[in-house]
């Protein structure tokens, strides 16, 4: 179609708009919901609100062993746990979960 020829020619001689991904990464936006992390475990009171409000059942809270277990491959990054936490223990980080060969669990233990 003639109307787009100039555009196509311009695209042909200009830099590609895509990034060479594994080598060049765009910095994540600060407001992005990338992954969650129990950042301030020393404040945690193990009330279990995050576990009960998680729609994907990705969090397990164990009061006896003072451990919070997160399954990052089940987590859907809805950030409900961050909103309901009374002690603001959980943080949301903007960078995404990295791909892995096996589905791992992350354990956060209160010392």
């Amino acid at each position: 179609m003639p109307g787009m020829i100039s555009l196509i020619l311009r695209n042909l001689f200009s830099k590609p708009v895509t990034r060479r991904y594994p080598f060049e990464k765009r910095a994540p936006f600060p407001t992005a919901r990338g992954q969650i992390v129990f950042a301030r475990m020393k404040d945690c009171v193990f009330c279990g609100l995050c576990m009960r409000n998680c729609p994907a059942n990705a969090i397990k809270v164990d009061k006896a062993s003072k451990t919070n277990t997160l399954e990052p491959f089940r987590c859907i990054q809805c950030v409900m746990c961050v909103e309901v936490c009374p002690k603001k223990v959980i943080d949301v980080l903007p960078d995404y979960t990295k791909p892995e060969y096996e589905k791992t669990e992350i354990k956060f233990v209160q010392k």
Partner: protein
């Protein structure tokens, strides 16, 4: 010549998802079609009954990958009505902004796919490149490119700051210019030849078969749920885009005009958006039944909710736009279209199979 039955799908290059049409073919012409669905049924209606009220928002979003924001809007509106609460004005405007941006990017995606289907790769890449700007600003607002998770019962979860409003306006200005630079596709000889007069659905058939969305509006039926004035649409100036060509070309034109309409609606929302709260808190439990209808990019979305005064719902029925558009597609196919035009006709309703089967 004897009739031959050709199966179209479940795996076919124009379908991202599995659906099968059993086409009865005479020479090159299709004379009968029968849909076979059920390849990706996920039992989401059952899951709605078993899950808790708040968690269902995220389930509703996962019914459809592209029009997920209207899904959660419909669910949340229904629960709010059963609880007897209303979202604050600012939250309702934010919902409209997100839903319209969703429509904008979905229509751009469709135009890319159309370019790809008729073999115009350069157009496909150009439109998707523009769309990426929109996805980036959506990620800045909501925190995710595709699954926004903005709606909550009683409001929205994130506010749109002044800085972001300026950014949205910048992106809209850019998109308006950019889309105008590629609007030649609707006048292009090949494109017109491939779509004009293909897949004819008359006004009477559209009403009888229950076509929705751009498929209905291209057949001169002004059927748009935004006329009901849910959320902030009652405050906005809105008139549905209607075209009377009744063919695939008309459906492309409707979507093209709707993109610019969406841009105007977002601008209007941004200028009218009142300050204030974005959330109404309530501990009421849903009781009674209601029907909510909203307008995703593909057409009317229907939610029936029945609550029984507990934190679980008794019954949720979801009717997605593609479910309503399957039968009009059969009507279009069985009018003796050429076999080579089947992909264009099926693509022209913008099929989304996973949400059809839920």
């Amino acid at each position: 010549m004897a009739k031959t039955v050709l199966t179209f799908g479940p795996q076919h290059v124009v379908f991202p998802e599995p659906i099968q049409f059993k086409l009865k073919v005479e020479d090159e012409f299709v004379v009968g079609a029968e849909p076979v669905i059920g390849y990706v049924h996920r039992g989401i209606e059952k899951a709605f009954e078993l899950n808790e009220l708040k968690k269902n928002i995220f389930l509703a979003e996962r019914i459809c990958g592209i029009c997920q924001s209207p899904h959660s809007t419909a669910y949340v509106l229904g629960v709010e009505r059963l609880m007897g609460i209303d979202a604050p004005a600012r939250a309702r405007y934010i919902r409209v902004i997100i839903n319209e941006m969703n429509r904008l990017h979905s229509h751009m995606l469709w135009f890319g796919l159309l370019g790809d289907a008729i073999g115009f790769e350069s157009y496909f890449m150009q439109v998707w490149n523009y769309r990426e700007k929109l996805m980036d600003v959506l990620e800045k607002i909501t925190g995710n490119r595709v699954t926004y998770s903005m709606n909550a019962i009683g409001g929205v979860r994130r506010d749109i700051s002044d800085e972001l409003q300026k950014e949205i306006n910048r992106v809209l200005d850019f998109l308006e210019e950019a889309l105008k630079s590629v609007d030649g596709v609707l006048r292009d000889y090949t494109m017109v030849k491939r779509t004009k007069g293909v897949g004819v659905l008359t006004e009477k058939e559209a009403k009888r078969d229950g076509a929705v969305g751009p498929t209905a509006r291209a057949s001169n039926v002004p059927y748009d749920m935004r006329m009901l004035g849910y959320d902030a649409y009652c405050d906005l100036e809105f008139k549905p885009v209607v075209v009377d060509t009744c063919d695939s070309y008309g459906r492309a034109v409707v979507r093209w005009k709707e993109m610019f309409q969406s841009i105007e609606l977002i601008r209007e929302c941004l200028s009218k958006m009142p300050p204030g709260d974005i959330m109404t808190k309530s501990n009421a439990l849903p009781k009674g039944e209601c029907v909510i209808r909203v307008e995703p990019p593909r057409g009317e979305l229907f939610y029936y909710l029945k609550g029984n005064g507990t934190k679980n719902l008794e019954r949720v029925k979801v009717r997605t736009p593609t479910f309503a558009n399957i039968w009009p597609t059969i009507t279009m196919l069985t009018k003796g279209c050429e076999f080579a035009n089947v992909p264009v006709i099926v693509l022209s309703i913008d099929p989304c199979i996973s949400c059809t089967e839920r």
